[in-house]
Amino acid sequence: MDTLKKETQKGKTIKATKISGAEAVVKCLLEEGIDLVYGYPGGAIMPVYDELFKYKNQLHHVLTRHEQGATHAAQGFARVTGKTGVVFATSGPGATNIVTGIADAQIDSTPMVCITGQVSSHLLGSDAFQETDIVAISTPVTKWNYQITKASEIPEILAKAFYIAKSGRPGPVLVDITKDAQFEEIDFSYKRCEKIRSYKAVPKFNIEKIKEAASVINSAKKPFIVWGQGVLLGKAEKEFKTFMEKTDIPSASTALGLSAIESKHRLNVGMVGMHGNYAPNVLTNECDVLIAIGMRFDDRVTGDLSRYAKQAKIIHFEIDPAEVDKNVKTDVAVLGDVKQTLSEVLKFVNKGNHKNWLNEFNKLYQIEYETIIENQFNPTKEGLTMGEVINRINKETKGDAVIVSDVGQHQMFACRYADFINTRSSVTSGGLGTMGFALPAAIGAKMGVPNREVIAVIGDGGYQMTIQELGTILQTKAAVKIVVLNNSFLGMVRQWQELFFDKRYASTVMTNPDFVKIAEGYGIEANRVKNRGDLNTAIQKMVASKSSYFLEVVIEKEDNVFPMIPTGASVSDIRLS
């Protein structure tokens, strides 16, 4: 054991005796500082699992109940820790089952390395049992992928995989390893990858662009910042906050940028986008300079592009050159890592004062509060609202929890109303909108930050897409809190049917099982709330629990998320009802 430890000291090139390709895989992970893997075994990856058994004291494996769950758990882990999530799956269906998670990680820039087993190299292309061309299938949704057919390739390729997944704009990498390569023996030595000649992880920033951006910002009368996940991925929260405060610019977040700045900061004017806040959406079309930081102008953020911030000069701080001018034409593009470019621009910007301009945001917030938020937090109707549940969770956790949301109405309520005081506290499937994301992602998040409260907020639809992961909670005792907001509808689709399809509720009504019994079947303490009077105690009880806890809240059936920018409308045409 001692020699083994010596061999696996980080960062050093090590030489050792002959080991199998499968053992090499495990040693590579240890070299990369990985101690947690999510996965599901099967024929083509059995040699690697056999090594996991031997190395179980150093590398912990979490058996999920479906490979998709493994990917989302790895994503949840990566999102709250900033580390790379690792997934193991077997060939064929094991590999195809991880495609959704990979696509999700690709569009939301999550660092993830997936290792799949493959049939032996002599069987490739023969339609062997559980053979599928996962390299071809995963190509459009991976940052990089590779098929290993010789054990000697394993150290170099895995080193590359971890470097690519984590560096620059992060993303998922898939490495497919044939079974014979897992058995083959090699002399193992490992060297971390620090550079690939054809890949520039972070573009060098141009000081002239920094100065140009600063001069535009300094002369702006109504500047407005929209920040995205780039701030979190670049670990630039501090630099961003300093920049925002010095320039005194009202700032709004994209859904994925949430929690980078505390929700209650006086300059944080909320969330932009389809169900974002009224003020930042409306005033997008009134600002004179729009400063986009680590965001990609997703269509859910911009609405109709031809009527998006046309009056404004656009400054784009961005790490990925392919995002510049992709959707919105930029006046000043500042390429580079935001942590660096924001520190640089800070040297050239003047201390700002935009009190009157910030007041315009506050005035519009009042309108939103009176027409929408007040009714959510203190409803006069009998039925419970999603907003009051989130608000109650805020009060109990004091904004200190990680909120993992799924996809749909409840997601928008969670993103709109959850209070955050710490960074990396909001985990949601933004770009891909993967229903079923939250439960496994919350498990991964809890394992990433075991000392924090992790609350999964899920709709009754999405919950049933990965409900089997309750088994993972049962087995690992991950103390995840699950809140299912049950309106017995696929709520977001139903809302669209109500607004745009004359209330033709095609296949959105859900006949649901007894969720409490199901949770109890998995050994999870469970409770159901139907009346407003019971809500506070129920949430208090859930938050107080030291182990996993399930809470179903029966919600008003036909409640809608507002404000809303209908598809094809401009951000400033956002509807309040």
């Binding site: 190509t139 990089w144 098929q147 690519i164 000649r197 054809s198 890949y199 520039k200 050159p321 001018d325």
Partner: protein, 172 residues
């Protein structure tokens, strides 16, 4: 609606399996038809070169080029208009030997700087290089003789402006 134009896209890459799939997927993702494609080695050792021809608006090709460039094993990507490149396509025509001494065919060969590469008892093969239009014309002229086989290569192109791949490799 922005005008669609012919663009020649040159992608310099590492020589790895699967890269063709990754690059063509980027065109597929944006629903772009690839008019022609050639893969060959380049002027730099171990660096390969893909030459794609597509007909799209310039704003679109700019975005596609950035997406191509973003792929890990892509070293550099360039796009050029027809005016910015010198390009050729090569075609082979297989005809029955009975037309071998037909004067009209002989004249066409001279005109197009084409030449006969093989003659057998039953057939002969003409090779012609030139612009796509030239080859198309040649095809139309020879078709009445009953083409036994016809094949045309993808475009190969050399750009007039510099494509500083060696510099990119040094810089990294």
């Amino acid at each position: 609606m922005e005008e669609k134009r012919n663009f020649t896209v040159s992608v310099y890459t590492e020589n790895n399996i699967g890269l063709l799939n990754r690059l063509s997927a980027i065109f597929l993702k944006r629903h772009i038809n690839i008019e022609s494609m050639t893969v060959s080695k380049s002027e730099i050792e171990h660096v390969h070169r893909f030459t794609f021809v597509v007909i799209v608006p310039e704003t679109l090709i700019r975005k596609v080029v950035l997406q191509l460039e973003k792929q890990i094993e892509v070293i550099g990507t360039f796009y050029h208009t027809e005016e910015e490149i010198i390009y050729q396509e090569t075609a082979l025509f297989k005809l029955s030997t009975e037309f071998m001494y037909d004067e009209r065919i002989q004249n066409k060969l001279k005109l197009r700087r084409a030449h006969v590469v093989t003659i057998t008892k039953n057939y002969f093969v003409i090779e012609a290089s030139g612009l796509k239009g030239d080859i198309d014309k040649m095809y139309d002229r020879l078709k009445p003789y009953g083409l036994l086989q016809f094949v045309r290569s993808g475009r190969i192109a050399i750009s007039r402006p510099k494509m500083a791949i060696s510099d990119l490799l040094i810089e990294n």
